[in-house]
């Protein structure tokens, strides 16, 4: 479906249309017009364009227009033959290292790399001399010269797929190398290879024209476009069309290959296909509301909509919460629950084409939903908001040293000079307990371990004076020991700076350890809010209870199976009408499936969105 749509875009239509035309002419040209292309008209030697001969005749009085048409077949066949040689050799050489084992493979890779470094034209001329002048020699020469490039591409692709676990699994299962290659590897690298081959055919066509033009390719009496160009060149000042027409043919055929390749790339999902996404639909009306007093962050009815393939995806569907100064709030939920999207929206990091709406989204006195001066907005967020992401490898620029990356914050937002900013960066690295901060500041991100990168990331947040730290799964990729160090550091930073914390995590135990309050999210909504200390004991929403029960801890009863939540999480594009959890809920009835329960607060300020949640007779919030 999608492939067809992409191919039917203008580029695809033009490319395929041209290609069909070229192929038809190549197939039928010689049959239809060979006679007219070879008939010698001695009355019109080297004639210019006329009604009889549209672009003139050559030195034997043969009609050049038909000669260009008839030359299509030889030009295309030779180009395709050479491309085929390149591909076959390239795939064999590219796949060989995988089959041949470590040592031989390394030699092959090394040889290919050396050959790739040679200029292509030099290789062509070299081979042309070896194989002799003529069409066959030229085809071999161009084909061989193109092989190293393909081998390199193929090798890279094969190496990428070979590292996938399914290849390892097949090996472990006893599947032979050749079968692994043909069954798992080649099918998974075929798409980019085909796309590249199509585009390569275009440039091979050009190389061929060049060789024939230089007299190294097709020899008389055969003729291709390059040969015709050479013949026409002598008279270029008198009959320019004689040389230009075959040139034009080369361009058209080359375009046909390249545009088709481009379209194929799009169809296989390599290129940019964002234009097939759907529009977001109408924005819903928002009413301005006042922020919760005393809150560093106050969010009312936050909605995040992303463009989807078939319909817009409502990733966050009306989330309301507030974080008081210095408070730690956790957000738990499964993937697709909208917890990360909520965090990104709060940090003003969601960009077009996604849409963020809210009645208000006030952070430290400034409503982020109201368009403001982007410069002062950046400064505001840059100095008072700190963010720690899950993957510390991607949150730093790998090409820059750590110190200057931290210093950048102070230079951009606080107007510090380079030296002063760098000094502050070193100081902040020391503050997050990185040993030898002067030396570490001069290192690159890859020289830091995962835990140290997270520390440095927290340090970057401390370049300003953060009032809120957003941490999105900050310890998920870390070991338990490193995790506890990073969490301790976060606690220490909060104690020193008084910053509030919004901690997103799938790990219930981490959240209960660190946070004061917990928001439980499901399918883009908050389904329950309660004190973190009560999460295991006083949760009222069936989803919260199930989530807590499903996670084994060091106390879990080993004799009983773990509680499981039946069914699968909601697919964000397909949220049902009623309660989103109804399909997996043991308590759900028809009312639940028809009416989405509102999120209601009790006297203690705990909130739950469930028709079946019984109110607590005794509220647990006396201490809070």
């Amino acid at each position: 479906m999608r492939a067809a749509r992409v191919l039917l875009r203008p580029v695809g239509l033009a490319g395929i249309g041209l290609l069909v035309l070229v192929v038809l002419v190549a197939a039928f040209g010689p049959i239809l017009w060979d006679g007219r292309a070879t008939v010698v008209d001695t009355d019109h030697l080297l004639a210019g364009p006329s009604a009889d001969h549209w672009i003139g005749t050559d030195n034997l009085g043969r009609d050049l227009f038909f000669r260009v048409l008839v030359a299509t077949r030889l030009s295309i066949v030779l180009a395709l033959a050479a491309t085929a040689i390149s591909i076959v050799l390239g795939v064999v050489l590219g796949a060989a290292p995988m089959l041949a084992g470590r040592r031989v493979g390394r030699v092959i890779t090394w040889a290919v790399n050396v050959l790739v470094a040679f200029p292509g034209l030099l290789l062509v001329l070299f081979f042309a001399v070896i194989f002799g002048v003529g069409a066959r020699g030229a085809a071999l020469a161009v084909g061989l010269a193109g092989a190293p490039g393909f081998a390199r591409l193929c090798h890279t692709l094969v190496a990428g797929v070979s590292e996938r676990d399914y290849v390892a699994a097949a090996r472990i299962a006893g599947v032979g190398r050749f079968r692994v290659l043909f069954r798992h590897v080649l099918p998974n690298v075929a798409e980019p290879l085909i796309v590249n081959a199509t585009m390569a055919a275009g440039s091979v066509l050009l190389s061929f024209a060049g060789l024939s033009f230089l007299g190294l390719g097709v020899q008389a009496p055969s003729y291709d476009w390059g040969r015709l160009m050479q013949d026409g060149l002598n008279g270029i000042y008198i009959h320019p069309l004689a040389a230009l027409a075959p040139g034009l043919a080369v361009i058209l055929a080359g375009l046909a290959f390249n545009l088709t390749g481009e379209a194929l790339a799009g169809a296989f999902g390599i290129g940019d296909v964002a234009t097939v996404r759907t529009a977001l639909g109408q924005a819903t009306a928002t009413e301005l509301t006042a922020p919760v007093p005393g809150a560093v962050l106050s969010v009312d009815d936050l909605r995040v909509t992303l463009p989807g393939v078939h319909q817009p995806v409502h990733a966050v569907r009306g989330v309301t919460f507030a974080i008081k100064d210095g408070e730690a709030v956790g957000v738990v939920g499964e993937s697709g629950s909208g917890k990360s999207m909520t965090a990104l929206a709060v940090a003003d990091l969601i960009e077009q084409p996604a849409r963020v709406e809210a009645n208000h989204l006030v952070f430290a006195g400034e409503d982020l939903t109201v368009p403001g001066d982007p410069e002062s907005r950046r400064k505001h967020l840059g100095t008072s908001l700190a963010i720690v992401f899950q993957d510390p490898m991607t949150s730093f620029n790998p090409a820059h040293r750590i110190g200057p990356q931290l210093a950048e914050v102070s230079r951009a937002h606080q107007g510090l000079r380079r030296r002063a900013a760098l000094a502050r960066a070193v100081d902040r690295l020391r503050a997050v307990r990185i040993r030898e901060p002067e030396r570490r500041a001069r290192q690159y991100p890859f020289q830091f371990s995962g835990g140290m990168r997270q520390r440095a990331m927290i340090g970057m947040g401390l370049m300003g004076t953060p009032r809120l730290i957003i941490a999105d799964e900050p310890t998920t990729s870390l070991d338990v020991t490193v995790q506890s160090q990073v969490l301790a550091l976060l606690a220490e930073v909060r104690r020193d700076t008084g910053a509030a914390l919004l901690l997103i995590s799938h790990d219930v135990s981490v959240v209960t350890d660190v946070c004061d309050r917990v928001l439980v999210m499901y399918a883009g909504r908050i389904v329950e809010e309660l004190p973190a200390a009560d999460l295991r004991t006083l949760a009222r929403h069936p989803y919260t209870k199930a989530l807590v029960a499903a996670v084994p801890d060091m106390e879990t009863d080993l004799d009983r199976p773990l509680a499981v939540i039946p069914g699968v999480p909601i697919d964000p594009p397909h949220v049902p009408i009623g309660c989103a959890f109804a399909a997996r809920c043991p308590l759900a009835d028809d009312h639940c499936r028809a009416v989405d329960p509102p999120l209601l607060a009790d006297a203690a300020g705990n909130r739950v969105a469930c028709h079946k949640a019984a109110p607590h007779s005794v509220t647990s919030k006396v201490t809070a």
């Binding site: 996938r164 676990d165 399914y166 390892a168 699994a169 097949a170 090996r171 472990i172 299962a173 006893g174 599947v175 069954r183 798992h184 099918p187 998974n188 499964e334 993937s335 995962g450 070991d479 338990v480 020991t481 490193v482 995790q483 506890s484 969490l487 799938h506 790990d507 219930v508 135990s509 981490v510 209960t512 350890d513 199930a546 989530l547 499903a550 996670v551 084994p552 801890d553 060091m554 106390e555 879990t556 009863d557 080993l558 004799d559 199976p561 773990l562 509680a563 499981v564 939540i565 699968v568 999480p569």
Partner: protein, 249 residues
């Protein structure tokens, strides 16, 4: 079922020794949990056992004999961490499972075996014709488990098989692992960095640190009364409650 023994196994990449003469025994029908931080050599143990890592010293034996690395019978199978990388996106669930079957079963037998295995891992057998793209992470991990079982293994190596799953799905996969171990009597090396998960499935636990096993013993003992400094350190870092381990029955 059988006994898998690592005897003074050493794995070296260049000048870097990843496994330093490690010895570990996975008894008949036993689940041994392997814990430790990343880089401690846990995954290298797994990869060495299935022949994906070069063993430069010592030996890995199955019932006292070298593990066959050629031919159709592969008694040691592995399930990988990332369910999105462990299934070929172009092969149906059924094809992936069938690929691991020893010998060349006929069409009918193949079909029956796929149905049996998918049912065993609590997957609807009608999913056999689906491509992995239509499955969730938990479902993919079940397929990966079914594929490992298709080879009729004597030992299964599970390398962080629940780490990339959502918590609600993790529970289901852990239950499945316990069920299968009980029903099929599988011997298993269960690798995880999550101590609570290891505690739940493993009878014995080994703790790795810096390419060595620093402590091993019954789960209740290692996790309840750790003797090695590093194990204590590891347990203290577990978020949540103060660790206590009840006696498994």
């Amino acid at each position: 079922m059988s006994v898998l023994s690592f005897r003074d196994v050493r794995v070296r990449y260049g000048s870097h020794t990843v496994l330093k003469d490690v010895s570990l025994e996975i008894g008949d029908g036993e689940v041994v949990g392997l814990v430790g931080e990343s880089g401690s050599g846990k995954s290298t143990m797994a990869r060495a056992a299935v022949g994906l890592a070069p063993v430069t010293g010592g030996e890995i034996l199955l019932d006292g004999r070298p593990i066959p690395r050629r031919g159709p019978v592969r008694p040691v199978q592995m399930v990988f961490q990332d369910p999105y990388s462990s299934l070929d996106p172009r092969m149906t669930v059924g094809e992936s499972v069938a690929e691991a079957m020893p010998g060349r079963p006929g069409k009918q037998a193949r079909r029956a075996e796929i149905t049996r295995l998918l049912t065993l891992v609590h997957l609807d057998p009608s999913r056999a014709d689906d491509l992995p793209g239509r499955l969730s992470g938990g479902q993919r991990q079940r397929v990966a488990l079914a594929r490992a079982l298709a080879a009729r293994p004597e030992v299964i190596i599970a390398d962080e098989i629940t780490s990339s799953l959502d918590v609600s799905v993790q529970g289901a996969v852990l239950n499945l692992v316990r069920d299968m171990q009980r029903e099929l009597g599988l011997s298993m090396l269960f690798i995880s960095h999550n101590l609570a998960v290891v505690r739940y499935v493993a009878g014995r636990v080994a703790v790795m640190y810096g390419g060595e096993i620093v402590e091993q013993g019954p789960a209740a003992q290692v996790l309840g009364a750790p003797r090695h400094e590093y194990t204590r350190h590891l347990l203290a870092a577990v978020p949540g409650t103060i660790p206590t381990v009840k006696e498994p029955t």
